[in-house]
C-alpha cells in the first residue's frame, strides 16, 4: 500500500480524497495555485505544494509541475479527482514514466473510451446497444446528409472528442443540417482542438441513467447499480439519485450487467461509469464512459455502503477487489444536490466572492462533501461547484423530505447559490412523482424565481439590520459589521457585548 498520495485537484473532491487517505493511514499532499493558498483542501492535507498561477493551464493542468511536486514530497501515487487531468491519457503516461501510480484506468483504456467513435465501435462489437448513428467518420457533407436520412430526423451533431454539451446541435430537418454541422465543427475545434463531428439519432426527452463500475487488475469487474442524473441545466447535472424510479429489477439487472460487460470490453480498470440514455419505451443505449470518479459518486456510496475512493486506491495499489457482485446491494434511497456558486434567478450566472456566513446541515443520513468555509473567497478561475449535499433514507419519499429539510438548514450568505431552487425541485410534485427526464427543468422551472416573501419576513429583516447597526454604534470597538475589528473576539469581548439591559 502507498504511504503518501498526491491529490492533483482542488475543492470538495480534493477534500474527499484527503479524508479517504487519512482513514487509510496514507499521508496526503495537496497542490494549489496562488489563488488557492487558503483553500480548504490545502488546510486539510498533511502537506501542500504551490504549483503556479491561478489559470488552470499554468497550475492544475500543468503535468510537469504536478509530477515534480509528487517527486519532491515522495508521493508514490497521484489521485486526479474529476475534471482537470482525470481523463487525460497523456498524464497517465507521464505518471507511469516518472514511476508514479495514476489512480485511475490505464492510458490505453483512457484513450479508447475517450474517443467517442472508437468507443462506440468497441461497444457495438461487444454487443452493447448503442444509439443508432454513424459508424465511420464521413468525409463529405453528402455523406452526412445520407446518414441523417437513414437515421431519420431528429438527429444530433456531436463532437468526437467532446463532452459537456460542446459542439452538440439537435437538427430537426434537413435544411438545418449543414449550418448545424458547421457550427458544431467550429465549436468542437475551439473546445477540443479537433473539429471531427458525427451524427446520432436524437432521443427525445430521455432519462440519463448511469451505472457505476469497479474493476481490479486481476480480472474482476463488478457494478454498483445505477444513478439517475436526468435533472440538468446547461447539460450539467444538478440533482442525482439512486435508485432510478424508471427501472424495475429486471431492467436494473440488465443495465448493470451490460455496463460490466462494456467495461470488460474496454479493458477498463479502477472506478468508472457507463452512461446510458433511457428512452420513453424503456430501451437503453450506451452513451459514453466516464473514466474517473464522478461528482455524484456519494449517491452510490450511500446506497451500497461501498467507499469508492478507498476502492480506487486499493485497486491502484494492485490489490484484489474484496467484494463480489453478489455482495453488492442497493439499500434505501439517496439523493444528491449540487451546490454551485451561481444565481438560478439570473440564468445560472456564476457568483464568485466572499462567503460571509456558512451554516452546514447535519443529522442522520445527511452528508455534506464541501470545499468551502466561512470567510473564504470563492475564486473566479475554476468550476463553480462548492459542495454536494447528499442524503439517505429508507425510501424515496423520505429521502426527498430529508433533502428539503437539510437544504433549509443550510445557509450561505455573500454569494448566490441554488439552495432555494434545489429545495423547490425536491418538493415539486413532478419530482416527487419520479417524473424526471432531461427536459424537467425546462418544463417546470423555466422562469423560476424565489417565492415572494411575506411582509412580516421583510419587517424582521429590516429590524435585524437596524438592530445590528445600533449595536455597532453603541460599541466603537466593533466594526460596522458588528464584528470586533482586528483579531478574533475573545470570550471576554463576546460576553461584554451583550449587556443590552443597560443601554
Amino acid at each position: 500500500m502507498f504511504t503518501k498520495i498526491l491529490i492533483a485537484n482542488r475543492g470538495e473532491i480534493a477534500v474527499r480524497v484527503i479524508k479517504a487517505c487519512r482513514e487509510m493511514g496514507i499521508r496526503s499532499v495537496a497542490v494549489y495555485s496562488d489563488v488557492d493558498r487558503a483553500s480548504l483542501h490545502v488546510r486539510m492535507a498533511d502537506e501542500a505544494v504551490p504549483i503556479g498561477p491561478p489559470p488552470a493551464a499554468e497550475s492544475y493542468l500543468h503535468m510537469e509541475k504536478i509530477v515534480q511536486a509528487a517527486r519532491r514530497t515522495g508521493a508514490e501515487a497521484i489521485h486526479p479527482g474529476y475534471g482537470f487531468l482525470a481523463e487525460n491519457a497523456a498524464f497517465a503516461r507521464v505518471c507511469a514514466e516518472a514511476g508514479l501510480v495514476f489512480v485511475g484506468p490505464t492510458a490505453p483504456a483512457l484513450e479508447l473510451v475517450g474517443d467517442k467513435v472508437r468507443a462506440r465501435q468497441t461497444m457495438e462489437k461487444a454487443g452493447i446497444p448503442i444509439i443508432p448513428g454513424m459508424k465511420t467518420l464521413p468525409r463529405s457533407i453528402d455523406e452526412f446528409e445520407g446518414a441523417a436520412r437513414e437515421l431519420g430526423y431528429p438527429v444530433i451533431v456531436k463532437a468526437s472528442a467532446g463532452g459537456g454539451g460542446k459542439g452538440m446541435r439537435v437538427v430537426e430537418e434537413e435544411k438545418d443540417l449543414r449550418p448545424s454541422l458547421e457550427a458544431g465543427m467550429r465549436e468542437a475545434k475551439s473546445a477540443f482542438g479537433d473539429e471531427t463531428v458525427y451524427l446520432e439519432k436524437y432521443i427525445e426527452e430521455p432519462r440519463h441513467v448511469e451505472v457505476q463500475v469497479l474493476s481490479d487488475t486481476h480480472g474482476r469487474t463488478v457494478h454498483l447499480y445505477e444513478r439517475e442524473c436526468s435533472i440538468q441545466r446547461r447539460h450539467q447535472k444538478i440533482v442525482e439519485e439512486s435508485p432510478s424510479t424508471a427501472l424495475d429489477p429486471t431492467l436494473r439487472a440488465k443495465m448493470g450487467e451490460t455496463a460490466r460487460r462494456a467495461m470488460e470490453a474496454a479493458g477498463y480498470t479502477n472506478a468508472g461509469t457507463v452512461e446510458f440514455l433511457l428512452d420513453k419505451n424503456r430501451r437503453f443505449y450506451f452513451l459514453e464512459v466516464n473514466a474517473r470518479l464522478q461528482v455524484e459518486h456519494p449517491v452510490t456510496e450511500l446506497v451500497t455502503g461501498v467507499d469508492l475512493v478507498r476502492q480506487q486506491i486499493l485497486v491502484a495499489a494492485g490489490e484484489r477487489l474484496d467484494i463480489g457482485q453478489e455482495d453488492i446491494r442497493q439499500r434505501g434511497h439517496a439523493i444528491e444536490c449540487r451546490i454551485y456558486a451561481e444565481d438560478p434567478k439570473r440564468n445560472f450566472l456564476p457568483s464568485p466572492g466572499k462567503i460571509r456566513v456558512l451554516r452546514e446541515p447535519g443529522g442522520p443520513g445527511i452528508r455534506l462533501d464541501s470545499g468551502i468555509y466561512e470567510g473564504w473567497d470563492v475564486p473566479i478561475y475554476y468550476d463553480p461547484i462548492l459542495a454536494k449535499l447528499v442524503v439517505w433514507d429508507e425510501n424515496r419519499e423520505r429521502a426527498c423530505r430529508r433533502m428539503a429539510a437539510a437544504l433549509s438548514e443550510t445557509v450561505i450568505l455573500g454569494i448566490q447559490t441554488p439552495l432555494a431552487f434545489l429545495r423547490d425541485i425536491v418538493t415539486h410534485e413532478a419530482f416527487l412523482a419520479g417524473l424526471t427526464d432531461t427536459s424537467f427543468l425546462k418544463t417546470h422551472f423555466e422562469n423560476w424565481g424565489e417565492r415572494p416573501t411575506d411582509e412580516d419576513g421583510l419587517r424582521l429583516a429590516l429590524a435585524a439590520a437596524a438592530f445590528a447597526e445600533t449595536r455597532a454604534a453603541a460599541r466603537p470597538d466593533l466594526g460596522r459589521d458588528g464584528r470586533v475589528s482586528g483579531e478574533a473576539a475573545t470570550p471576554w469581548t463576546s460576553l461584554g457585548r451583550w449587556r443590552i439591559g443597560g443601554a
Binding site: R346, I380, R451, A464, A466, I500
Partner: protein, 164 residues
Amino acid sequence: MEFEYLVDGAVQKVAIEVKEGIVLVREGEKTMRAEIVSVSDAEIFLSVDGVGRRIFMARDGGRWLVFHGGGEYVLEEPRKAESTSFRGEDGGKEGGLVKAPMPGKVIKVLVAEGEAVRKNQTLLIVEAMKMENEIKAGRECVVRKVHVAAGDLVDAARPLVELE
C-alpha cells in the same frame, strides 16, 4: 432610531427602540415586539410572540444580507444603492454605464470608443468560473468610453463601457 434601506429598488423605513433586551420595531402603522434571546456575530435569535426567529446576517460592502425563514433579503443603504442596483446584463438600456454583472476576467473587448453599436450587439465578454458571459448593448447607441481591456480582472458592478 430610524433606518432606511433599499429592498428590491423600493425604500423601506424602519424605526427601532432597544430596551432591556426587547426590540420594538415600528414600520409604518405596524409595530412588532421582539425579545432578544441571543446574539452572535452572524446570528440573532429573537422571540416574537413566543415564536423563535433565527436570523443570519452579514454586512457586505454597503448592504446587509439577511436570511431567515428560508428567504434571503438584501438591504442596501439608499445612498450607495444607486451604484449597485444597475445590472450589466441589462447593459445600456438607459444608456450610460455598462457594468460587470459578476466578478470575472475580461477576455475580449469587441467595440472601440466612438463606434456605433446595434441593439443586442455584444460589447465585450467577461469570463468567470469557466463560463463566458456576453455583455450586450440594450439599444442602438455610440460607445463613448471603454474602461477595461482584455485580461483585466473586474469586480461586480465595475464600469466596463460608457454608452451614449
